[in-house]
Amino acid sequence: MRQSSPRSFPRKPRVLGRRIWAPVLAIGLVVITAACQQVQVAPETARSADVTSALIGDRTIREGGDLVMALSAEPDRLDPTTSSSLYTRYVMQTICQKLFDIDASGAVVPQLATALPTTSADGLTVTIPVMAGAVFADGTPFNADAVKQTIERGLTLAGSSRRSELGPITAVNALDATTVEITYSRPFAPLTAALADRAGMIMSPTALASAGAGFGDNPVCVGPFKFAERVPQTSITVERDPLYYDAGNVHLDRITYRIISDSNIRAANLRSGDVQIADTISTQDIGALSQEPGIGILQVGSLGYQAVTFNVGNTAGVGSPVGTIDTPLATSKAIRQAFSMSVDRQALVSSVFSNYADVACSPISPSSPYSTPASEACPAFDPVAARAMLVDSGVTIPFPVTMQVSNSPDTIRFAQALQASVAASGFELSISPIEYSTLLDVQTRGDFASLQLGWSGRVDPHGNMFNFLSTGGGNNYSGYSNPAVDALLTEASQTTDVPARAELYGKAITIVQEDNPVVYLYRQRSLTAYSTQIAGVETFADGVVHLSGAAFVEAK
């Protein structure tokens, strides 16, 4: 009836017209909104400076309160012996103190130990003095025997991730209540750095005896906070430990680590006040966040690196004998060197990460005490020479290279920029994005020509080099083998003198930069955003956010 009425009939075309405008308007709005996104291109020379702490200073502390930190990934089991997740370190840092820690300069300093270890002349005996008077959260006294039990657990527990970090230990002895002696079959210099990480987190012998392998369900250590609750998939809560030896300098009642995996959502939660601190802020968000009132930023260069790994001999999986790969990319050092020279690292860091990353040319961070001019040397960016080198190698230009990368947006953006950078030198880089666990599998099996992955980094260069670059190393994904490098890395691991070790690592890096099984590209910066309602937060080169001394403070 309505359609045939003389009034409604002429209105139909008009209605249709307006119906078309509605979606057009909606699409237009979407396009305009997208076009308004800020594009940040930082000047190439600007390098972000480290800001490692938000000090309390003269601000008035409000004692107590519950702090919420947004964590970008869920920690694994809270067991220092078996854990392999960086995010577990965030939580453990507040509840499980270590024999040693690192400070803002990246140097190892005593924590539950009272001094740095002393090593015998033959390098086989290490003596560590430990604190007297401290107690674990369950009231068990802390002493040398507890240290002995923790280290022995790291060596013997099935599934321990600490065994290789501790080196070839033959015996651990508690000489008295405050002295531990560790004996080695051969000198092992990286021990102190290992004890500044999870291997050095001392666990309560009482809790170990009662919980055994289930220690991670209710960890008990010495720390300013003690474990309170874990809600799977959601959060981990720790609360102030009144038995802590320095309880007077602990200000918060509780810290809740809430798992929020999306970086945009972490930033939004910080803005809304639902969390007071958030880790791993995206380089896309950090510029805007740093301009906002009430939000502060901590940033520090990483000890790790991001790199392109070329498969030069990994034919049967990591750990298998080195094989032969008969491709120009695998056999020709010159082609890989040309690739390294064709990468404009500074431009990539500026354009992709707005300078919230650092150029990397070696596995040793410039902030490390083991950094030397040799380890900081960078291949010159020279696309013309790189192209000439590629031509001289006798391959057809453009020379195709397939690179597998993880499918995270930041990684893909970087890979695309890298693709553009190396194109000028005659490389035709194909990007193959795959899911992270699959990429790890591909890397381990050696099923790749090249791939882009990173390493979170260790305080001691041994952890960043030996397993990756020595023949048959557990993380030698490229299948690289060079006896000269093997000899240098082995000698460095047995040398206790820091300058002498640094020189050995520098020599090894010079050879690696000629062979280029791994082309180092950049180091991520640990970017942490916090509400200025809190202070006393620190983050150092190991990337862990320290909240032990944090407090809510009065507004300035």
Binding site: R2, S8, R11, K12, V15, R18, R19, A22, P23, L25, A26, V30, E74, P75, D76, R77, S84, S85, A158, G159, S161, S164, G214, G216, D217, R230, V231, P232, Q233, T234, R258, I260, S261, D262, N264, I265, A268, N269, R271, S272, G273, D274, G317, V318, G319, E435, Y436, S437, T438, L440, D441, V442, T444, L453, G454, W455, S456, N467, G474, N475
Partner: protein, 317 residues
């Protein structure tokens, strides 16, 4: 009837066994394994071998399956390889969150969808219909994750009306629970609301042309009464059918919504388990979903046979 029921139960058991084999073998065919995911960047051949031995992944597949089935029959689904939490605990903690979210989203979708559909029919060819159509178009075409981020930015960050993320259990604080799930439920229910709006509008247009509506009008009933009592009531049959068909989509849509709002639900549990190759969790989650489907189908089949006894013939009597 008992024989029919026995046959259906037997068929269901076969389905469950087949599903358990498929999921067991399927997850092990994914590139990478639980050991690699657990070891992460610290994966060395020795460490991987040790973890595989600990998890029993070095055993033959048949042996692993037999252990899995044996444990499952004793009610032991194992523990998460990543966190060590028993799988039953994980499921018990996450399933209610997703069911509550889906129910809330459904209520929002039905309320908004039906109201807009009625409005669009009532004001055909006028601005309320254009607005309703525009909203439906946006609801259908804008992806949930983008809408979710916008909602967080404007409703949580700027206006501070709702929390930006997190979940408060109903038992702990009922009002807080509703508040924590309001934004996710609106976002999750948006596309379903759009579908319901379009179906309601289309169905209402048809219904309002029918003879009984004309008769009701001729009898002098008020327009509101005709619209809601005769028009809407009869149109709801189609809406109910659509809602039934879309329920599965609502549950699967919860995966994205839970991730955006950091809700500890079943969807997030599943997704995280797949990314970390957490075999015990993936197996348990898939089997629980399978059992759910089997039970619903079984209940429906049995109900059909009660309503219409001829269906039993197909059951072999």
């Amino acid at each position: 009837m008992p024989r029919y029921l026995l046959t259906r139960l037997w068929q269901s058991a076969i389905t469950l066994i087949l599903a358990s084999i498929v999921v067991f073998v399927g997850v092990r065919q994914l590139p990478g394994d639980a050991a690699l995911a657990m070891a992460g960047e610290e994966a060395s051949p020795e460490r991987l071998a040790e973890i595989r031995m600990q998890l029993g992944l070095d055993q033959p597949l048949v042996g692993q399956y037999a252990t899995f089935v044996g444990n499952m029959l004793r009610g032991d689904f194992g523990a998460s390889t990543r966190t060590g939490t028993p799988v039953t605990e994980l499921v018990a903690a996450t399933l209610p969150v997703t069911l509550w979210l889906a129910a809330y989203a459904l209520i929002v979708a039905i309320f908004v969808g039906v109201m807009l559909g009625v409005l669009a029919e009532r004001f055909r060819g006028r601005w309320p219909e254009w607005i309703a159509n525009g909203l439906a178009l946006i609801g259908l075409s804008v992806p949930n994750f983008w809408l979710g981020i916008l909602a967080i930015l404007y409703l949580a960050v700027t206006l501070r009306l709702f929390p930006a993320s997190g979940y408060t259990p109903m038992g702990q604080d009922p009002l807080g629970s509703i508040r924590s799930l309001t934004l996710p439920a609106i976002i999750l229910g948006t596309s379903l609301a759009a579908v319901i709006m379009r179906q309601t509008r289309a169905s209402m247009i048809e219904t309002m042309k029918t003879d009984y509506v004309r008769t009701a009008r001729a009898k002098g009933l008020g327009s509101g009464r005709v619209l809601f009592r005769y028009g809407l009531r009869n149109s709801l049959i189609v809406v109910v059918t659509i809602v039934g068909l879309q329920l599965g989509g609502l549950i699967s849509g919860a995966v994205v919504t839970e991730r955006i709002f950091a809700l500890p639900g079943f969807g997030k549990l599943t997704l995280d388990a797949v990314f970390t190759r957490d075999y015990p969790v993936i197996q348990a989650v898939v089997l629980i979903i399978t059992v759910g489907y089997i039970l619903i189908n079984l209940a429906v089949d049995v109900l059909y046979s009660v309503i219409n006894p001829r269906i039993r013939v197909g059951g072999g009597s």
